[in-house]
């Protein structure tokens, strides 16, 4: 079983890594990282000044806050990276197999369908995770250049949360993918659900007094709240310039894990129920 899983994951990952989509996504990530570096390295003082003024605080910012706001700004942009990469890699993972008719090649191999699905999930995660790691590595290097020191332990928490969010985005992408037989449709549907539907539901939750953190898109933002506990999109739970407390991180992790479990379950049911013969 592990032999087959290793082989199929390895094979599909090579196909992802050699693809034009991966090259494009890597290029896009490096481009965004360079822009972020320019923004935070050269314009950092003015940005932080404006930011603090709007918070009604003194302009003379302590070093610790400067470092936290640096990572906070990078984290705000980071949030889009796994969403976009999953739209490329995960949302097309099953639908592309149907579109290209390669699914018949996989399904006629003596491997269980669970292993095939798991191989698709892992290979999509490795491709997306590499793009995410590329962004965070650039952030790390930019931090070192800007502050002449290494970031504190919160940065490790940030990276681990980033990987969890990436995995849950991949699980969502794969779940969406099992409903479509054209990869472009699956990617568009995934982005609509993520960017439009979740925001609308979040607003409905906020206006009706339900905790909007229960929406995945909001729970994802814990990734930068480990530096400063502010969510510019949802002010439901207030905010502070300190890192999010431990219990809030755990709460968000639980929500993300619950979503991931649901998406994997949907993907499993949909992949198995789908009649491949049209």
């Amino acid at each position: 079983m592990f032999f087959e899983l290793r082989k199929i994951t390895q094979f599909l990952t090579i196909n992802f890594w050699n693809s034009r989509a991966f090259t494009f996504m890597a290029f896009l990530t490096i481009f965004i990282s360079i822009l972020m570096f320019i923004l935070t390295f050269f314009d950092f003082n003015s940005i932080i000044g404006t930011f603090v003024q709007s918070g009604g605080l003194v302009i003379n910012v302590p070093n610790q806050l400067r470092e936290a706001s640096f990572n906070f700004i990078w984290g705000n942009i980071f949030i889009y990276i796994p969403i976009l990469a999953s739209a490329f890699f995960a949302a097309g993972a099953i639908s592309q197999e149907l579109e290209q008719k390669t699914i018949y090649q996989l399904l006629s191999l003596p491997i269980s369908k669970e292993i095939i699905l798991l191989g698709k999930i892992l290979s999509s995660f490795f491709a997306t995770g590499l793009i995410v790691s590329l962004f965070i590595l650039t952030q790390f290097i930019s931090y070192v250049i800007t502050f002449h020191s290494f970031p504190d332990l919160n940065f490790l928490t940030y990276y681990l949360l980033a990987l969890l969010i990436t995995f849950s985005d991949v699980a969502m992408g794969i779940a969406v993918s099992t409903f479509f037989s054209k990869s472009a449709n699956a990617s568009i549907a995934y982005l609509i659900i993520y960017i439009v539907a979740m925001d609308i539901i979040s607003l409905i939750f906020s206006s009706t007094g339900i905790n909007p953190l229960l929406i995945k898109a909001n729970a994802d933002r814990i990734v930068y709240r480990v530096f400063m506990n502010i969510d510019p999109y949802v002010l439901y739970y207030g905010g502070s310039l300190s890192p999010a407390p431990f219990w809030e991180i755990i709460y968000s992790i639980e929500i993300l894990l619950a979503y991931t479990g649901c998406f994997l379950f949907i993907a499993y049911i949909s992949f198995f129920r789908r009649g491949i013969v049209k």
């Binding site: 087959e4 082989k7 199929i8 094979f11 599909l12 090579i14 196909n15 992802f16 890594w17 050699n18 693809s19 034009r20 290209q100 008719k101 390669t102 699914i103 018949y104 090649q105 399904l107 006629s108 191999l109 003596p110 491997i111 269980s112 198995f272 009649g275 491949i276 013969v277 049209k278």
Partner: protein, 303 residues
């Protein structure tokens, strides 16, 4: 010995059609053809046997193993080419065959086998190239390789000669003869190409509207000839009285070669030019008869 057994199999195809097979038993060694119009159920049948589709009624057993209950074990010794796949664009031909071969069979000589297969397919020089650089015909040849790598005893091929040029067709025919000689194999080929099926298969099943309408053994009888002339034969012609005549063709059963030469000579003497002489295809004849009974034409079947 390899076996495939289907009993009371029912599978819906689209909204209105369904594949219905009461009983089908295939035992090695055999090269079995599946012939039928588009949408008849040939590909669906191959998808069912290859384990791609699990939602169907009835029983399918491969080598005595129920495909629903023991899918992985049942298809362990099975290779297939189904639905002209485009394949994974960013792996090489070598990587693809190696992956499939390793999944199908544990062997520390897989690299050697992959190289041999690429050579048989005439793709040795492109083995390390990514698949998006392959032509349609090369992809088709590679997909044949994917079906035979790991030396499975049951091989299912869906329209294997589509998109092949004359070189590809020769490679394919050689390949089928090569893998079927002296081995206990079941090779099932679904195709529209009657000539190719007659050339390669021992037996052909005709499927129409999801049902098996007939089975024909290809015994290589070359005693029935068709002589095609340049114009329709006149009703009062001497040829009409002596031979079975249909429009511009003479159908003749011969025991000796000189009977054929005599018919050709008589036609020439009456002012007809000979366009060609070929063996009468029993398969084609039977297929056309069945299509006629079903109210279809050959053109409908290959549209």
């Amino acid at each position: 010995m390899s076996t495939i057994e289907l009993r009371n199999v029912h599978k819906k195809m689209g909204r209105h059609n369904s594949l219905e097979i009461e009983k089908l038993s295939v035992r090695s060694p055999i090269i079995l053809g599946l012939l039928g119009p588009n949408g008849a159920g040939k590909s669906t049948l191959l998808k069912l046997i290859s384990g791609c589709v699990s939602s169907f009624d009835g029983i399918i057993e491969i080598n005595g193993l129920d495909i629903k209950e023991r899918r992985e074990s049942a298809i362990k010794d099975l290779g297939s080419l189904i639905e002209n796949p485009n394949f994974y664009q960013f792996v090489s031909g070598y990587q693809l065959l190696r992956f499939i071969g390793q999944i199908r069979k544990e062997s520390n000589r897989m690299d050697e086998e992959v190289h041999k297969t690429l050579k048989k397919l005439g793709l040795s020089n492109k083995g390390r190239n990514q698949l998006h650089t392959y032509s349609t015909g090369e992809i088709k040849r590679l997909s044949l390789g994917a079906a035979i790598i790991g030396d499975p005893n049951i091989i299912l091929l869906d329209e294997p000669s589509d998109n092949l040029d004359i070189f590809g067709e020769l490679v394919f025919e050689d390949l089928i003869r090569d893998i079927s000689i002296g081995e206990e194999k079941i090779i099932i080929i679904a195709s529209h190409d009657i000539e190719m099926l007659e050339k390669l298969c021992n037996e052909v099943i005709i499927i129409i509207d999801g049902n098996i309408e007939g089975t024909l053994k290809i015994d290589g009888d070359e005693n029935r000839k068709i002589i095609t002339l340049d114009k329709n034969i006149e009703a009062n012609s001497a040829l009409n009285q002596k031979y079975e005549v249909r429009e511009n063709t003479i159908r003749i059963e011969i025991k000796e070669e000189k009977e054929l030469i005599e018919a050709i000579q008589e036609s020439a003497d009456l002012g007809y030019k000979i366009v060609n002489v070929k063996n009468e295809s029993l398969l084609e004849k039977k297929y056309l008869e069945i299509l006629k009974i079903k109210g279809m034409s050959i053109l409908q079947s290959i549209d």
